[in-house]
C-alpha cells in the first residue's frame, strides 16, 4: 500500500521544492475560487455554512496571535467579536439614522475592537497565566450583559440628566437590519457569492498579517515573553507594550469578523456571543496547533466540519439504524444536542495523545515533545 503510494507520487516528489510549492498554491487558490461555482452546479447548498466557518477561522487566527504567539490565555475573545459586530450594527442601524458606508464601518469596527483590547489589556496584562484567563473570562461575560442593558441608557451626573433612555443597542431584541456592503452597482444581499469572496479576502489578509508577524521583531518578542517573561524583560523586551500589541491586534481581527458577520446576518443579538463561542474558538486554536497558521486554519475547519456535517449526518444514520432495529431511543436521538459532549471527548483525546495539537509549529512541538535525547534520558533514569 505504502509502496504504491510512493510510486504514484514519485514524479511529484521529483519536482524541485519551489515548483511544488507554486503548484500547490496555484491548485489551492484555483479550488477556493471555483468553489462557489461548484456549489451552484452541484446544488450543494453549503456556501452559507462555509462562509460562517470562514468567519470562525478568522477569529481563530486572531486568537492565535494572543494565545499561540504571545501565550496569553484569553477566555473572553468572543467579546471582541461582539464589539466589532455591534460597532457595525450601531453605525448602520436605520433607527440611529447614521447609516455609514460599510467599507468605513468595517474599519471603525476594527479600531473600536482594538481600542477595547487596549482598554481591557492595560490594567490586566501585568497578571500572568491563570489570573489573566479569569479576567478575560469575566470580560467575555460582561460584554453581552452590557450590550443587553444598553438598550435603555440614562446617564445622570448630580442634578444633570445627560442622557435619558437612549437606545444604543436595542437590548435583547437586537439590531436589525445592519448596513450591507456595496461595490459600485453590486449590492450584497441574498446572493452568497460576494459574501464568500469578501470573507475570503479578509481571511487572506488576516492570515497574511499572521504570517508576516510570526518571524518579525514583534513575533520574536511575543515568543520570548511566552517562554520567559522575566528573561525577556531583562533582554530589553517591554512586556506591557508587547502584550498590549498582541491583545489589540488580536482584537482588531475579531472586529473585522464581527463587522462582516453582522452585515451578512443582517441582525445581531447579545445572545450570539456566549462564553461557549470563546471556548469554541480557543478549541480551534488548540486542536489545530497553537502558533501555526496552517494548523489553526485546518483545526478550525475540522471542528466546524464535525459540528455542522458529521454530527447531523451521524444523527440521520443513527435514527435510520434505530428505526430498522426498532430501538426507540436510537430512532429519536439528536446527536447535535450532544455537540458539547463530543467536543469535550475530542479535546480530551487530543490533549492526551497529541497535546501540541494536530499541526503544531516547530517550537510548540519541541515544547511538548521535548528533545530526541530527553525522553530517553528520563527512561534510562527510571
Amino acid at each position: 500500500m505504502r509502496s504504491i503510494w510512493y510510486s504514484v507520487t514519485a514524479p511529484w516528489r521529483a519536482l524541485p521544492a519551489r515548483r511544488r510549492l507554486i503548484i500547490s498554491w496555484a491548485v489551492g487558490i484555483f479550488l477556493v475560487l471555483i468553489y462557489p461555482l461548484a456549489d451552484k452546479v452541484f446544488n450543494l447548498q453549503t456556501l452559507n455554512s462555509v462562509t460562517d466557518v470562514l468567519v470562525l477561522v478568522i477569529l481563530a487566527l486572531g486568537l492565535n496571535i494572543v494565545v499561540g504567539y504571545a501565550g496569553l490565555l484569553n477566555f473572553g475573545y468572543a467579546a471582541f467579536f461582539a464589539i466589532g459586530a455591534y460597532t457595525a450594527g450601531i453605525l448602520t442601524w436605520p433607527v440611529h439614522g447614521i447609516d455609514w458606508n460599510f467599507w468605513i464601518v468595517i474599519w471603525a469596527a476594527v479600531i473600536v475592537a482594538a481600542f477595547f483590547g487596549i482598554l481591557i489589556g492595560t490594567p490586566t496584562l501585568r497578571l500572568r497565566g491563570d489570573y489573566l484567563a479569569i479576567v478575560t473570562l469575566a470580560f467575555g461575560e460582561i460584554v453581552p450583559v452590557v450590550i443587553r442593558n444598553l438598550g435603555d441608557l440614562s446617564i445622570k451626573v448630580g442634578p444633570w440628566l445627560l442622557v435619558s433612555h437612549f437606545n444604543l443597542t436595542n437590548g435583547v431584541q437586537g439590531l436589525s437590519p445592519v448596513g450591507v456592503p456595496q461595490i459600485g452597482p453590486l449590492q450584497f444581499g441574498f446572493n452568497l457569492v460576494p459574501w464568500y469572496f469578501l470573507i475570503l479576502l479578509i481571511g487572506a489578509l488576516v492570515a497574511f498579517v499572521n504570517m508576516r508577524l510570526e518571524h518579525s521583531r514583534l513575533g520574536r518578542a511575543w515568543m520570548a515573553l511566552r517562554e520567559d517573561e522575566t528573561a525577556a524583560d531583562a533582554t530589553g523586551v517591554d512586556p506591557v507594550r508587547t502584550k498590549l500589541l498582541a491583545f489589540s491586534i488580536g482584537a482588531s481581527f475579531a472586529g473585522f469578523a464581527g463587522a462582516f458577520y453582522a452585515a451578512k446576518l443582517q441582525a445581531i443579538f447579545p445572545d450570539q456571543f456566549p462564553f461557549n463561542l470563546s471556548v469554541m474558538i480557543l478549541c480551534m486554536v488548540i486542536l489545530g496547533g497553537m502558533g501555526n497558521i496552517k494548523g489553526v486554519i485546518i483545526g478550525g475547519m475540522l471542528i466546524q466540519l464535525f459540528d455542522r456535517v458529521v454530527l447531523s449526518q451521524a444523527t440521520v444514520l443513527a435514527q435510520a439504524a434505530g428505526r430498522a432495529l426498532n430501538i426507540a431511543v436510537l430512532a429519536n436521538v439528536d446527536l447535535s444536542l450532544w455537540r458539547w459532549f463530543f467536543f469535550g471527548v475530542v479535546m480530551v483525546i487530543v490533549m492526551v495523545l497529541r497535546p501540541e495539537g494536530l499541526f503544531p509549529s516547530a517550537a510548540r512541538r519541541a515544547e511538548f515533545r521535548g528533545t530526541s535525547e530527553e525522553p530517553a534520558a528520563v527512561e534510562s533514569g527510571s
Partner: protein, 275 residues
Amino acid sequence: MALLEARKITKQFGGLTAVNELDLVIEKGSIASLIGPNGAGKTAFFNMVSGFHKPTSGQMLLDGKEIGGLRPNRVTARGLGRTFQNIRLFANMTALENVLVGMNCRLKASWVGSILRTPDVVREEAEARQRALKLLDYVGLGGKDETLAKNLPYGSQRRLEIARALATDPTLLLLDEPTAGMNPQETEDAMVLIKRVRDGLGVTILLIEHDMKVVMGISERITVLDYGTKIAEGTPEQVRANPKVIEAYLGKGVATGTAVTEPVGTQAILETGRR
C-alpha cells in the same frame, strides 16, 4: 571614570535589610567581582541594578544617569546586559532567535513595517541576522544557530546567555555566577571568554561568583558583602589578606586564629571554604 555608581543604596524586604547603604563604584573597562556568603545581598544588588528591584533609598547611576527604579527593559536600553544565576534562556527558541531577541531593543522595525516588509525592515533584519551569527561565533557557538536553546549542553547554554546579553549592546555586563556548575575545563573556557569580551568589545564586567579561582583569576577589583554591607574592597591580593573576609566566611574564632598570623592560609580557606 565610573561607569556604575551606587550611592548609599538600600533595599529592604519588609523588616529584612538585604542591602544596607552600599556605596560601590565600577570603573569603566574593568572586570569587577562581588563576593560574599549566601544571603549577603549580592543578587539583591544585581536585581537593583537591572531593574527587578526598586531601591528603597539611595541612588544608582549608570554612566552618570539615574537608573534606580526603571523597569528592566528600560535599564537594558540604557546599556546594561545581564545573565541569570539559574540559566534563563528562551528554551524552545533557536540559539539564533535567542540572540535576535536580545537585539530587540536596538531594532527599529514597527509592527506595521514588519507586516508590509518595507525595504528598511528587510535590510535591518538581514543585518541583525548577520550580527547575531557573528555573536554566536564570538562566544564559540558557530554552526549551532538552528539548535533549540534547550538542546544545547550546559556550558553552551551559559555562553548563549552571554551572547544574548551582548546582543543588547551593553556597556556594562552583569554575570550572575557565570561558571556555576561547570567542570574545570568549562570554567577555564568561560574565564577566557569573559576576558575576551572585556578586551575585545570593551564591555565593563561585574560578576557574582563563588568559585574563588575565577574571582581571583580575572577580577581587577573585588567587593565583599556581608549582611548587606561592604566589609572589604580592593585588588584580589588586598581582599585575600583581609581578616574581615575570613571572619565573614568562617566565623570570628577562625579569623583571629589564622588570618592575622598566616595570610597565606587565608587564600586556602577562601578557595576551599566556599565550595
